[in-house]
């Protein structure tokens, strides 16, 4: 019997998404229900790597089968879900369940900043957004999308925040690596383009040397040392400084 199909049967019958640990527990306790069964005994101590490989293969199978459902991993737990196209009938089936209202634009923006930059302090969020985020943060914490992670080792030791497993579930993400354009946004290296230095049609004067970030310049704001650094180093390569 193929591990893949056993996993399929388990996930097919599970009342909730199952993590690798929970799946392993199923395999180990199955022995109690079929002592003499070779397959059951053989899989008693199945490794997480085996499970992951089989699950990935299974998910691929189902994607290829192109049916009305698929196997997904959300927040590290595996489950079968239906394709969005069938929502009208499924909504009719499950009845009008009151879903939480969608997040507001400030909510989404704040959440995006936290998701990509965690852990970070409220001041750091506000610096990116340019506005206070008190109300928004409260909503996000209340909805369980964001939580306090600890304290930053800076003056005042402010709280740092990060996203939760609920956040991943809410957006159907497997992990933070699944965030759209994660690599790019986690640490945005904003390169100062040459055009800014040389061509700025609206300016009465174009003082390019002022646009150069000195290598030893302290971060523009105390709250965002990590963000400032890449752009600092990037700008040192610019040729305009000699003019």
């Amino acid at each position: 019997m193929d591990l893949k199909f056993i996993l399929e049967a388990i996930l097919f019958s599970a009342q909730k998404p199952l993590s690798l640990k929970e799946l392993r527990d199923v395999f180990s306790s199955a022995v109690e229900h079929a002592e003499g069964n070779e397959t059951v005994r053989g899989l008693k101590k199945v490794k997480e790597e085996q499970l992951t490989a089989a699950l990935e293969a299974l998910a691929k199978d189902h994607d290829a089968a192109n049916r009305s459902y698929r196997l997904v991993c959300v927040a590290g737990s595996w489950q079968f879900v239906t394709q969005p196209d069938y929502a009208p009938w499924l909504k009719a089936l499950v009845g009008h369940k009151a879903r939480p209202p969608r997040l507001s634009q400030p909510g989404l923006e704040t959440l995006a900043i936290i998701a990509y930059r965690q852990p970070l302090t409220r001041a750091e969020i506000e610096q990116v957004r340019g506005v206070a985020v008190d109300g928004v943060m409260q909503t996000l914490v209340e909805r369980g999308l964001v939580e306090q992670l600890g304290r930053a080792e800076v003056i005042g030791r402010p709280m740092t925040y990060g996203t939760t497993a609920v956040f991943l579930e809410y957006f159907g993400l497997r992990s933070l690596d699944d965030l759209p354009a994660a690599d790019e946004l986690r640490r945005i290296p904003i390169q100062k383009p040459e055009s800014l230095a040389t061509v700025d049609p609206g300016l009465a004067t174009a003082p390019p040397e002022q646009l150069i970030q000195p290598t030893d310049a302290p971060p523009a704001k105390a709250e965002t040392p990590a963000q400032a650094s890449p752009s600092d180093s990037a700008s040192t390569t610019e040729p305009g400084s000699s003019s």
Binding site: P84, R129, V131, F171, L185, I190, P201, G202, P207
Partner: protein, 265 residues
């Protein structure tokens, strides 16, 4: 400028407003005319004030920054004031553009999250019927404890001679040994007659031990005792792999609709 009023209320902050103004200009953020942008921004603020709308503090701070940038632009480089503590590179223009670019990226990311959010609303997890396994009651065709009792009793008759009572037995069987023995025998033959279990038995105590072993194996569902007909010969075999009616074993096969492991309604 009624358009402003409407627009203004949806701006998330000064950066949002600036992005809107840049977009209206249809230029790249890096190429924006900051002087003109500053003028436009301040016009908006003024409009808001004229309309008696409350202007949030952040907008005023941004307005001040833009005014400062604008004023700097009006001076030749060598006459620009070097603010104390401000290093050469701390160009407020660059700082603002950097901030705008960063904010723009997160705004785009937020939009993508919004798409995911909407999509998730249409995704339904499979929540299957709760599985319920029937209590594993003795099957119709399995021999009852009475049958076993009668059977072992019959075997014991063989040893029911008074002389046995003083015997010192050489064999030293334990239940665990007999369990191993039975499991081996069943794996070789898959089906054993009950009487065969005791074929090579040499003492009453061995009968007892064998029987205890059998009981334990039955209790552990490793073996089942099956009696084809009333008072027929009991046979020992492995249980069927699932708790379905063992229709292959004996008695009338049960033609049930296939409904494995579905829960009760």
């Amino acid at each position: 400028m009624p358009e402003y009023k409407v627009k203004f209320e949806v701006f998330e902050g000064p950066l949002d407003l600036l992005l809107y103004l840049i977009k209206k200009e249809e230029v790249d953020i890096y190429e924006v005319n900051l002087t003109r942008l500053a003028t436009q921004f301040i016009e908006y603020i003024e409009t808001m004030r004229l309309m008696d709308l409350e202007v949030a503090g952040e907008f005023l701070v941004m307005a001040a920054t833009l005014m400062y940038i604008k004023s700097r632009e009006l001076l030749p480089v060598d006459q620009q004031v070097q603010v104390e503590g401000e290093e050469d590179g701390d160009d407020p223009r660059w700082e603002l553009i950097r901030q705008l670019v960063e904010y723009k990226k997160f705004k785009d990311a937020a939009a993508q999250l919004g798409v995911l959010e909407a999509r998730q609303e249409d995704v339904f997890p499979r929540v299957p019927v709760k599985l319920e396994f029937e209590a594993e009651a003795p099957k119709r065709n399995e021999a009852s404890i009475f049958d076993l009792l009668n059977a072992v009793s019959t075997v014991l008759q063989r040893f029911n001679r008074p002389s046995d009572q003083r015997d010192i037995f050489e064999d030293k069987w334990s239940v665990s040994e007999k369990i191993d023995h039975l499991m081996r025998a069943i794996s070789e033959q898959s089906r054993l007659k009950f009487s065969d279990l005791f074929a090579g038995v040499t003492s009453r105590s061995e009968v007892v031990v064998t029987f205890l072993a059998l009981l334990e194996l039955i209790r552990l569902k490793q073996l089942v005792a099956v009696q084809g007909e009333a008072f027929g010969e009991i046979e020992i075999c492995r249980p069927p792999p699932i708790s379905k009616a063992p229709d292959i074993l004996a008695g009338a096969p049960v033609a049930e609709p296939p409904q494995p492991f579905q829960g009760a309604e």
